[in-house]
Subunit: 378 residues, 4 copies
């Protein structure tokens, strides 16, 4: 039985790359490079196979998926030769993308969203659906009392638009009986009321903010300094990025959300906060290929000053897409295995993981491997 | 009861920095930054305290230690203000350094070396002595049948100089009942005959080649690529270094030894060998502050090509010295706890570790922590 | 006959390094490395010799110069061994530093400043004095009608504080018959009223903003791209700096002034403005050693995308100080040769040079060499 | 009247990119980015227009040009959309490529080469033909007495193969009355006997070794350090390159030729040789996109140590091709203007320029601009 992947932001770069990639792998035209769940250490009967994923989603844009994919091919994100080969699958996915519904109240909007998802599940006879948020990053949201518990929230939604869109999608996902993955730094399910809702419905959820570039590197380098008892003095980062995500992040609001989730790994793995900040600058010409530069200054034996620099030239969508597939498989398997609440074992995938978890990549990997083994027994 | 640290190459940069540092830390003038055994996770009653280490050693040079230390201060490796403060301790250590003995046969030379070490132990009433090789890297050595078993070796030493100096020191160490640490890429105890000798005498030994810079970074970055199922295509490194070690490594022989021990981590953590080489270039002006630059090209989802570069500007002696202190403490504790043979759990410290062990730093760290906990129970 | 150098900000890093350096070179203890006027191509009888410079100045701080120099030595900006050797000269210079005078009106303050300078000139029987602004960078200043002509300015100064400090010093310098150099991005003499004043008094002036690091590199790389008809798409820079100047620039106001003077070279040498910004981040740990990182993306034949990155690790005060000495010598010589008004031929030294001048370093060099030759004939 | 460009190595990357590019520009499908002779400062009636160039050449390979171009498109060197558009022109050029002729003596081989070129000139009614060597770099060649004068050479060629292929092509070019450009570091026309031959036939020639990447950057950075009287201590470079040229250079012989021509710029612009070497490493995965990394350490005022690093990620063929077009136009124009012997004014284009010329790019640019102006008057 197939598993549905409902992408919020289904016409965006990450979503489109995920859909193309799943189709190409299924067709034997591409290796599952970058898919963590395809590593021998994590393979197991418990995960739905890549080839059994069916895609649909919501977006506020109506650009045809094929057009987006052409742009990605022109930019070198996906190989042009694959695009033609998976045209059929792209068309099927496109037919399953709905415009984000408008309604008088958020309660009604949530119901419409949930109905779209349920219809998708029925239409394809899916065992279950994982809702994955890969929509544009939202600005930081102001706290509201109705965020604190589910009753208050249910009430408020009848009248006031108290939820940011990302949280409304999470609300709708849970009410449709679906698990939920926050691949963005937006608020999403990160509200007490929504955590409560997930638990009540017995649904697992994962997040936040896919860890694909500079933060991934930090999550191995910072523990290295810590394990060697070297004192990091400064860690300053510059991220130059273009593409749709870059344009959005260039605005002060979302930028702040993203930048703060990027520095958390340092405090958590070092035990203190070094000097320096992470900057995001939008540079149209860079496109989907991000360039990050980090300077680390540190002190060694007898106070000797040393330094390290790195540059990272990564294609963000190509780094994110296989993780979206991984997260969909893992979350679906957890759902099937009866897991509910925050999937803290998936910290490996996130810049700003749920729960009190290790931020060093190796420990997160160990937790992930144990999690998959656990599912296997389920 | 104090523990002796007998340094082969006791007048070199690493040795001198270790001696100054131990004295400065004991005197409360410096933090034990860079000392792994001072991390909360590794502290335990089982390790001899830093302040109980007594230093001596062999060298082929007779430059006063104080002069070497002045040069290190001028180069910014150790702070000038510390040097005056530990002059007394430096003089004591200097008085315990012997010229490498000359003799007609290697058997006699070994006996003289062992006698020097035993006299040191007696003079200071030391519980035990750890011999640590921090002498200049030797050229790769040709195989000889006498390397294969202890009887053949004992025989051969009466007539032929079959051992390189590093191995002769290991032989002497074992015959004096001392444990042994190979901090260099030289042959040292890495011969079947010497491994046999260590086992027979019930002595532990550790090695090879302290992991302080580029290879340390590789040992966290390569696993990162592996854990993310990203395919590393090229890993090319350039190491510019000066100082005594640099001058020596610039010669083709030792350079080859060092460069090959530097690439092992890639094959072992990735499971395949990417393209590219590691080059060592001697640049007098660089002094003790090495600059390494590495380029990594890798492939992600759907074959997308990406890359990462890093530059590392580290002070080699400052990175090595605290590890020498760590290794002396850990090996002495293992000796006391009755451990003998290769201490594979110390892979964390080495570029080219003994035994079939993980090369990822995080797994090596876990093995080290378990090792220290094990000693605590002893 | 000696030449006076009156430093505004005389207790700062650049000033102190200049004073120490001039003394050390005079005493034969250091080479004039970094002094452009000591190059064979620029040497000539027309310039006052380095050894004939006498130092004094104003500051708002009263830290003894010796204390500042000790801090610079500890930070590795000046060699500790030199400091002791030039203690006498430092004391003499210290005795010639006055607190920035306070007065009821700016007119009175200017008179007091001018009187301090004149007294210095008389005391030492100096042929002439060059006033060089190396004080902290000021925030951008709001336009005021009195800035537009000298009469209006003279009037306004009786009642309103219409000038920022840097401009008041320039006013005072001109009224004392001194030439003036703006080494900072502050307003200084960059007002029509002050340009008029310089011309009326027959005084030369130079500026703005010493070109010492990232911008220096830009001034050769940008012309390289232009000469090769390569199209620069993005030029994004990150400057991490500490020290007194860094702390000051971290505030939004001065930062903006500096960052905009840093990008001018691109538009001027390329003929268009590439994407990207220059950021200045204050990092205390970096101290006087600035790290700049720049990413340049460019397009070549048939639109092929390429890129270049550079990191610059320079000691700002050590880069600036020899240029301060050069500028004092060149401006004094121009004054003696009867030059007045803006010395546009000194664009070589500045990020934001006066006049409509080439921004490519090589053309600026040619103009400088011609200027020095011209003086030689005077 | 059209001008012929006869490419030795006509099926290689540089040649193919040049041919595609000239066709695309002529067809209005691409801008002449990277073509120096299209800059306003160098445009003039004296140069044959880009659209009047006709291509032919020799190669030892017989891969169809279209196949080579497809590979270049797949590698991102030329845009795939252009390739189809210029298929006709590619076919025409392909029809003008001859296999390098074999013969019993080099004298006969030279005659066959010259005949191929003359037939090409006649077939197209070309005003003149420029022979440009863009074939694989040869190993360094051993000196031979016959290299010293033309009579000796003419004699020797009857019996002994005394010339490397690159020089034989130059010999043939001159005997066919053609000018010659050495775009490679091979020997080419760089022999006294061939210089004599060019003079006797009244033919101009230019060389050696197109300056496209790391050396180009050096030619602006090294003068920067010189103009600022900063002392360069170390300049160490690493060049990682793939493609056909990379594979060839990986062999020790050609590598040495190339590496030595890369360091000349330093000695010439600085006036001394800093420490450090230039390494070339072949990395198949890098393809036509070279990555170079250079470390420069330098000393400033009072001996302060500083450093700079840069990485250059350039597409070698895309950088070289427009220069090949420039050189063909400039050399043809010089020929028409009656110039003969070495065109030292074209040093701008070469790593290892002919004659005693400045190595700073800005001075080379000035010489080039004067040269073009001079032609205009001719
Ligand atoms: N690519 C990475 O490496 C990476 C890593 C971590 C997080 N992310 C996050 O993933 C998200 C997607 O990135 P991308 O590069 O695909 O961006 P994108 O701009 O290409 O796509 C975002 C899509 O979301 C849609 N959208 C916006 N608001 C919506 C709404 N209210 N409802 C439904 N759809 C909406 C947009 O129309 C667009 O199609 C971003 O939030 C980004 O921060 C990406
Ligand atoms: N510093 C690091 O980061 C690091 C890392 C790994 C390994 N190492 C190894 O540590 C060793 C020491 O490095 P260093 O920088 O101190 O070098 P160094 O040149 O400063 O010191 C080496 C010392 O060994 C002495 N010596 C040479 N041959 C000897 C012999 N036969 N017997 C006794 N003494 C002898 C020399 O006289 C010298 O005093 C080198 O082999 C180096 O490769 C260093
Ligand atoms: N170092 C470089 O490479 C470089 C390059 C270009 C420009 N600059 C400029 O040179 C200036 C000095 O830099 P620094 O590193 O020496 O800074 P610093 O902070 O060490 O010194 C500045 C000095 O100016 C004094 N000052 C502040 N306001 C004053 C006033 N109103 N009157 C008199 N003195 C005053 C301060 O007390 C301090 O002593 C800065 O404006 C900087 O931007 C420096
Ligand atoms: N691309 C650059 O930036 C650059 C810069 C400077 C110099 N160069 C030089 O340009 C040359 C060409 O580079 P490429 O990348 O095109 O190399 P390539 O390997 O793609 O092409 C070389 C061509 O020369 C042909 N060839 C070899 N020997 C020959 C012979 N004896 N006669 C005729 N043809 C022969 C080969 O078959 C091949 O087709 C190299 O020597 C290279 O060093 C290139
Ligand atoms: Na870099
Ligand atoms: Na770098």
């Amino acid at each position: 039985m197939a598993t549905g992947v409902w992408l919020v932001g289904a016409r965006g770069s990450v979503a489109a790359t995920s859909i193309v990639g799943a189709a190409a792998i299924r067709a034997g035209l591409a290796e599952p490079t970058g898919c963590v769940t395809e590593l021998p250490q994590l393979q197991g009967a418990s995960l739905p196979p890549l080839s059994d994923l069916v895609f649909g989603g919501h977006d506020i844009a109506d650009t045809p998926l094929a057009k987006k994919v052409d742009a990605l091919a022109a930019a070198g994100v996906v190989p042009a030769r694959l695009v033609a080969a998976v045209a059929g699958e792209l068309a099927s996915a496109d037919a399953e993308i709905r415009l984000a519904p408008a309604a008088d109240t958020q309660r009604e909007a949530a119901a419409l969203i949930a109905a779209d998802i349920a219809a998708f599940r029925d239409r394809h006879g899916l065992e279950r659906v994982v809702v994955v948020n890969v929509a544009s990053t939202e600005p930081l949201v102001q706290a509201h009392p109705a965020h604190e518990n589910l009753e208050a929230l249910d009430d408020a939604l009848r009248s006031d638009p108290v939820l940011p869109p990302s949280s409304l999608y999470a609300y709708a996902a849970f009410s449709a009986g679906c698990s939920h993955v926050d691949f963005t730094p937006s608020t999403g399910a990160r509200l007490p009321a929504l955590a409560e809702m997930a638990r009540r419905h017995g649904l697992p959820h994962a997040g936040h903010d896919g860890k694909t570039g500079e933060t991934l590197v930090k999550s191995v380098l910072a523990p290295m300094f810590a394990m060697r008892n070297l004192r990091v003095r400064t860690w300053s980062g510059t991220n130059l990025l273009g593409g749709g995500d870059g344009a959005n992040l260039a605005e002060a609001g979302p930028n702040a959300a993203k930048a703060s989730s990027k520095q958390r790994v340092l405090a958590e793995t070092l035990g203190y906060e070094p000097q320096g900040h992470t900057r995001i600058e939008y540079v149209d010409d860079i496109g989907d290929f991000k360039t990050a530069w980090d300077l680390v200054t540190f002190t060694g034996f007898l106070g000797t000053a040393m330094r390290m620099e790195f540059s990272w030239h990564g294609c963000d969508s190509a780094l994110a897409a296989p993780l979206v597939l991984d997260l969909a498989r893992l979350t679906a398997a957890a759902h099937r295995a009866g897991r509910s609440g925050p999937l803290t074992e998936l910290a490996f995938f996130f810049k700003d993981p749920l729960g009190t978890v290790p931020h060093g990549l190796a420990e997160q990997w160990a937790a992930l491997a144990a999690f998959v083994r656990g599912l296997g027994n389920a």
